[in-house]
Point group: C3
Chain length 258, copies 3
C-alpha cells in the first residue's frame, strides 16, 4: 500500500524514507526468516540510507579485481560529499513508489530494482567524471553495464525522481541530458546517429515517459511531459506534452492541455 | 541428434529425461576433461533432476548476502513439495530439445540456457508469492533479473513446455498469463500500457510463438497457436492461429487451418 | 585523443597496441590510486596482451563450478595456438578506438567493453567448436550470454575489426557469418525465421553498420558497406552500400558511390 500522503520533497525526506525502509525490512525479516540475514546485512545493520546504499552497491559491483571495500569507501565518500546525490536517490525511491504499480515498498526498490541501483552508481560516476577521475568513472560504468545491463556514460546528466523500470538494456550516451521525474522503460536507447561528433545525444525534458524499446537518436529534444511510445524510433524533436509513436516516429493526438 | 521417439509427456518423463541428462554429462566429461569437474558438481554427483537443478540454480543466483545454501534448501523444498514444478521443468526441457534447432541435448539446456533457468526460478517464486511469502519471491525475481536479464513478476502465471530462447531482456508483468507450449524469443515484453491498474498485462494462449523484440502491451489476448512477428508492437487482441506483424501490429494472412 | 597516425594492420600491431595499453594503464594507475591494484592485476603484471586478455576473460567468465584457473589455461593455450585470434583482437581494439567516439583508449576497450570481451571469448569458442569440443564451446557461449548478455553461437563465423558497441542483448545464430570491420550496436539480432533448418541465419558483408535494435532474420545477405537502421526488421537481401530502414525494412536512397 502506498502511504496515503507521501510527503513533499524536502530535507526531511531522507530520514522519513530511511525510517520506512527500516520498518519494511524489520517486518520482512520477522515474517521471512530466510531473508533475515540478507536484510540485516543490507539494511538493518546500517545507521543511514547512504551507508546501506553504499554497502549494497559495493557488493553488487565488486569483482575479484575491483574490491568491495574500495567501492564501499568510494560510495560512502561520494554520498557524504554530495547531498544532491542523496536527495536524488530519495526522489527516485519516491518516484518508484508512486509511479510503478508493481513497487511493493521503498525497501523493495532499494534492494531489488537494478534500474535504481544503476542510476545511483551513475551519479557517483558522473561526479568522478566532472572531477576528471575518468578512468575510475569508466570502470564504474563498465561494472554497471555488466552487472545491471544498464549502460549510462558517466558524462550524461540525469535529473532526480527517475524511474528506470525493469532497466535491462537501457543505453544513455555521453552528451545526453535527462530532466527530472522521467520514466524510462527497459531497452530504451538515448543514442547517437553515428553521423555526428560532439553534442550528439538526446535531451529529455522533465516528466517525459519513454516506452519499452524506444530508440531516440541524435541531438533531438523531447519536450517536458511528452510521451514516446514503445518500440518507437525517434529522430525528430517531440514538442512538450505531445506523443510520438512508430518507426519512424510521428506525432499523434496533438498537445494535451494546451 | 534428437532421440527419434521422444516419449509422450507422462509420469515417467522425469526419470527418462534425468537418465538422458546423466548419459550426456558422462559422455561430455569423458570427452572433455576440462569440463569433468563442472559436470560432476552440477549433474553427476546428484541423485535426481530436482537436486541437480536446485544446486545449479542456487549457485547461479546466490550472492555475498543471499547465500547459496539458503537458496539450495529453498529450491529443494519447493521442488519436493510441488511435483507440478518438476513436471513443468521436464516439459520445458523436452520443448527446448524439440523446438530449438540449436539445442544440443537435455544437459545443454539444463546447464546452459538462462531462459530455462529463469523460468524454473520463477515457478518457485510464483509458489512463494501464492503463499504470501512476497519479500522472498521479489528477492528471487530480482536475482533472476540481474543474473539472467529475465524479469518475470512472481505473480505472473506461466504454463509448461515453455521455451525462452536466448532470453536476454524478456519482461513479463504482474498480471500476465502464459499458456502451455509457448515459445518466446529474447527482448519480448508482456507489459502494461501505463494507463491501467489492476489486471493490465497480456494473456498468451497455448502454442503461441512470439518473435524477438516483440512488445505486447495491455490486457490483450493472443489466441492459441497465434504468431507475433519479430519487432512487433501489439496493442490489440490477436485471434487464434493468426499472425500479427508490424508497429503497430496488424493481422496478416488470416487464420490458418480454419 | 586518437593517435594521429594509427599504423596499418601488420604483424607489429600487437606489440604496438600492447605498449599503448601498458602506457595508458600506468598513467591511470598513477593518477587514480583506487585503480592501481586493479590495473596491476589486469594489465601491468602481464608480459603480453594475450596473457592480460586471458586473465581478464577468465576472471569475468569463471563461476563457482567453472574455475578461473581452468579458463585461464584454456584462453592462454588458444591464443598461443591461434595467432589469427590475437590479430583479430588487435584489429577489434583499433576498430573501437577509430569508430567509437566514446572510446577513451585501448585499455578502456580491453578492460571495460563487454562487447569486445564477448567477441574474444567467442573466437576461442569457435575454435573449440571446429575441433569438435562442443560441450566446452557451448559452456563458454553460455557464460558469455550470462555475464555479458551477448549470445553468439560458437559455430557463427565472425571477422576482424569488429565493434559491438554497448553490446547488451546481441544475439548471433549458428549459421551466421559476419565479415570484417562490421559495427553492431546493442540489441541486434542475426537470427532465424523459425521456418528454416540448416543454413538459416544472415550473412553480413565487410564494413556493414547495424543500428541499435535491428533484427535481421533468415539466410539473407547484407552487402558490403550497407547500413541497417536502428529498430529495423530485415527479412530481405540488402545490396552493397545501400541503406535499409523500417519495420519491415525497405531500401532507401539507392546505392552510394556507384
Amino acid at each position: 500500500v502506498v502511504p496515503s500522503h507521501p510527503p513533499p520533497e524536502s530535507d526531511g525526506d531522507e530520514s522519513w524514507v530511511w525510517s520506512q525502509i527500516k520498518a519494511e525490512a524489520r517486518r520482512d525479516a520477522d515474517a521471512e526468516p530466510a531473508l533475515a540475514s540478507f536484510l540485516y546485512a543490507t539494511v538493518l545493520s546500517h545507521p543511514s540510507l547512504d551507508r546501506s546504499l553504499a554497502f549494497h552497491l559495493a557488493n553488487k559491483l565488486c569483482s575479484s579485481t575491483l574490491l568491495s571495500t574500495l567501492l564501499y569507501d568510494l560510495f560512502v565518500a561520494s554520498l557524504a560529499a554530495h547531498p544532491s546525490i542523496r536527495a536524488a536517490a530519495v526522489a527516485d525511491l519516491i518516484a518508484a513508489r508512486s509511479r510503478d504499480p508493481a513497487c511493493a515498498g521503498f525497501a523493495h526498490c532499494l534492494l531489488n530494482y537494478k534500474g535504481f541501483l544503476a542510476v545511483q552508481a551513475h551519479r557517483v560516476a558522473h561526479v568522478l567524471w566532472a572531477q576528471s577521475r575518468r578512468a575510475l568513472a569508466l570502470a564504474l560504468q563498465s561494472r554497471v553495464a555488466e552487472v545491471f545491463a544498464v549502460d549510462i556514460h558517466p558524462a550524461a546528466a540525469i535529473g532526480k525522481g527517475i524511474l528506470l523500470d525493469h532497466a535491462t538494456g537501457v543505453v544513455i550516451g555521453e552528451t545526453a541530458i535527462v530532466g527530472d521525474n522521467v520514466s524510462i522503460l527497459h531497452h530504451v536507447t538515448l543514442g547517437g546517429t553515428g553521423k555526428a561528433v560532439g553534442d550528439r545525444h538526446p535531451k529529455i525534458g522533465d516528466g517525459v515517459l519513454i516506452g519499452a524499446g524506444a530508440t531516440i537518436l541524435g541531438n533531438v529534444r523531447i519536450g517536458a511531459g511528452a510521451k514516446v511510445g514503445a518500440g518507437s524510433v525517434v529522430l525528430i524533436d517531440v514538442p512538450p506534452r505531445s506523443t510520438a509513436v512508430g518507426n519512424p516516429a510521428r506525432l499523434i493526438g496533438g498537445k494535451k492541455g494546451e
